[in-house]
């Protein structure tokens, strides 16, 4: 097998492509963020991040991501279970592709559809009003933090269905049957077998959702027009040149800051993946 040494060769295009269009830009922005306006090495771009508005933006983004990921991962896990248990293969694949559309629609159409449904004149708002709940009685608007949570949940729950489905499919029929056969009830099976087995995958999916929510831009941009201070939105306005900053590379530092937060989520994801693989046969 003298060819084995060169087995990576056909993979070269892939490595070159991802290296140039994924890793190289990330490396570039990282290096630039450590340079000041004069092009010297410096940490000055990072000083604004430690306090004030930018720190607040990071806090808001992280809080939003945690809340939406918790809601979406729980809801999504629930839906996945029902889908996997009940749907035939054709229905499952249809549901899956619908989920893919919803998950990928974390974008502009979604924001406008929510405005249509939950806006002051929206049908949903009217239905809820009919049942005696005026969602606009308090301070709620779709353009607020709560509004963003609502919209994010809409595209992150289907994402959960997509990433969590393999874990649920990995639950072998033999386990529940053996559990019943040994005299345990369904609740015991879930408590002692299924939930412990699913937990690492669930945590991993949670981190993936967190990263997704944290970096989402389009929905918030179209919906809030800057009313909720999220890091991606601030970077967007810096790039658009709407804000005059005396630090040209501040946006780069913010971008790197986002990578760092996402990196922490990734470490969590990898750790969880490892734990999930621990019990896998062979």
């Amino acid at each position: 097998m003298k060819l084995k040494r060169y087995s990576w060769l056909p993979l070269l295009p892939f490595f070159l492509f991802t290296g140039y269009f994924l890793l190289w830009p990330i490396l570039g922005v990282t290096l630039k963020s450590f340079h000041n306006n004069a092009g010297e090495w410096s940490l000055s771009n990072y000083t604004p991040l430690i306090s004030g508005a930018y720190r607040h933006a990071f806090a808001t983004s992280i809080r939003l991501s945690i809340i939406t990921s918790v809601i979406s991962s729980v809801l999504g896990a629930f839906f996945t279970l029902v889908i996997v248990k009940n749907a035939g293969s054709r229905l499952t694949s249809i549901i899956e592709s619908i989920a893919a559309v919803f998950a990928n629609s974390g974008g502009v159409p979604l924001a406008f559809m929510y405005i249509a449904a939950f806006g002051a004149e929206g049908m949903f708002t009217k239905i809820l009003k009919f049942f005696g709940w005026n969602i606009y009685a308090g301070r709620f608007t779709l353009f607020s933090f709560t509004g963003v949570v609502l919209v994010y949940t809409f595209f992150m729950t289907p994402l959960m269905v997509i990433v969590f489905r393999p874990a649920i499919l990995g639950l072998r029929k033999e386990w529940s049957e053996a559990s019943l056969n040994l005299g345990a009830n369904t609740l015991t099976y879930w408590r002692r077998v299924a939930i412990p087995i699913l937990t690492p995958s669930f945590i991993g999916s949670f981190f993936l959702l967190f990263a997704g929510a944290f970096s989402a831009y389009a929905t918030a941009r179209a919906l809030t027009v800057g009313t909720v201070p999220l890091v991606p939105i601030i970077i967007g306005t810096l790039v658009d040149g709407n804000v005059i900053s005396d630090q040209a590379n501040l946006g780069d530092a913010l971008a790197v800051g986002m990578i760092v937060v996402a990196g922490v989520a990734m470490i969590g994801y990898i750790w969880a993946q490892r734990s999930a693989a621990k019990w896998r046969q062979s």
Binding site: S7, W8, P10, L11, P13, F14, T18, F21, P25, I26, L27, G28, L75, F78, F79, R90, S93, I94, E96, S97, I98, A100, V101, N104, G107, V108, P109, L110, A111, F112, M113, Y114, I115, A116, A117, F118, E121, M123, F124, F154, T157, A211, F214, S215, Y217, A218, R221, A222, I235, G236, V239, G251, D252, A255, V256, M258, I259, A262, M266, Y269
Partner: protein, 262 residues
């Protein structure tokens, strides 16, 4: 216990319907409202077609989507086949790279692109194609990988080669038909993603369908909603079609399996 389970399922389906489909319906209803007045009409949809930017923006998006779908296949199909056939030990690294776009914020990638890409590339909207392929990687990787792992590709290739087929014939007549569902799925996913991509496009200052929509919304929110409903419905229709095509293949396998099962 049976009743409990049924009502739980019913509740879940109801919940999913409420969360996901009612907003869709609500938006659809909204998009047919007459501007300013009562009643419903196609006014908002016809307004769309009269807008000058609408068709060019849609055209740009379609063009970019077709190109990124094609580039995605050219890059990923050989990579995934080789990976599963000859270079299994590189699988974990490729797997890792393909999950990165889900984790690295697209905003950061966009800033990085402005820093690192050469001038000539930044001057053309086709630079987006490369990044659309990157952003679609997590999905296309999954689609292709699950299709390839479902068939024993090694045995297929060895059988084909030992019967005297050339590599070219093996790829065209054996591999591609065997992983057809994965190819269709990956193609549509990358296509749909490219059509709807907003973050990179907007931060790199290009005009496509989604960015045009945001600008149009400032003039006519009803029109923007109409666009959204239209594109959503289109995406669901297309992907359901893919789902059915892919499932038909699966069902054939299922029949064979059922004969084994008692």
């Amino acid at each position: 216990m049976k009743i409990g389970r049924y009502s739980l399922n019913a509740f879940t389906i109801f919940l999913a319907g409420t969360i996901f489909f009612l907003p869709l319906l609500a938006a659809a209803e909204f998009s047919f409202r007459k501007p300013g007045g009562k009643g419903h009409s196609f006014t908002n949809y016809s307004w769309l077609l009269q807008q000058e930017g609408f068709l060019p923006a849609l055209g740009t998006s379609l063009r970019l989507a077709v190109l990124s779908g094609a580039l995605n296949l050219i890059l990923m199909v050989p990579t995934m086949v080789v990976l599963n056939l000859k270079a299994k030990r590189y699988k974990s690294i490729v797997d890792f790279i393909c999950i990165l776009p889900l984790i690295i914020p697209v905003v950061s990638l966009a800033i990085g692109a402005q820093v690192s890409m050469p001038e000539f590339l930044q001057n053309t909207e086709y630079e987006l194609v490369f990044f659309f392929v990157i952003v679609a990687l997590p999905y296309t990787y999954r689609a292709l990988d699950s299709a390839i792992s479902a068939v024993d590709i090694k045995v297929l290739v060895e059988a084909s080669r030992s019967l005297g087929a050339t590599w070219f014939a093996t790829i065209i007549k054996v591999i591609i038909p065997a992983i057809r569902s994965g190819i269709i799925g990956s193609l549509f996913l990358s296509f749909a993603l490219a059509i709807g991509e907003f973050t990179l496009t907007s931060l790199l200052h290009w005009d496509t369908f989604p960015t045009w929509t945001v600008v149009a919304a400032q003039q006519n929110i009803l029109g923007a909603i109409a666009i959204s409903v239209f594109s959503f419905a289109l995406a669901i229709f297309a992907l359901t079609l893919v789902g059915i095509l892919a499932a038909r293949k699966k069902n054939q396998n299922l029949v064979l399996e059922n004969e084994e099962v008692e």
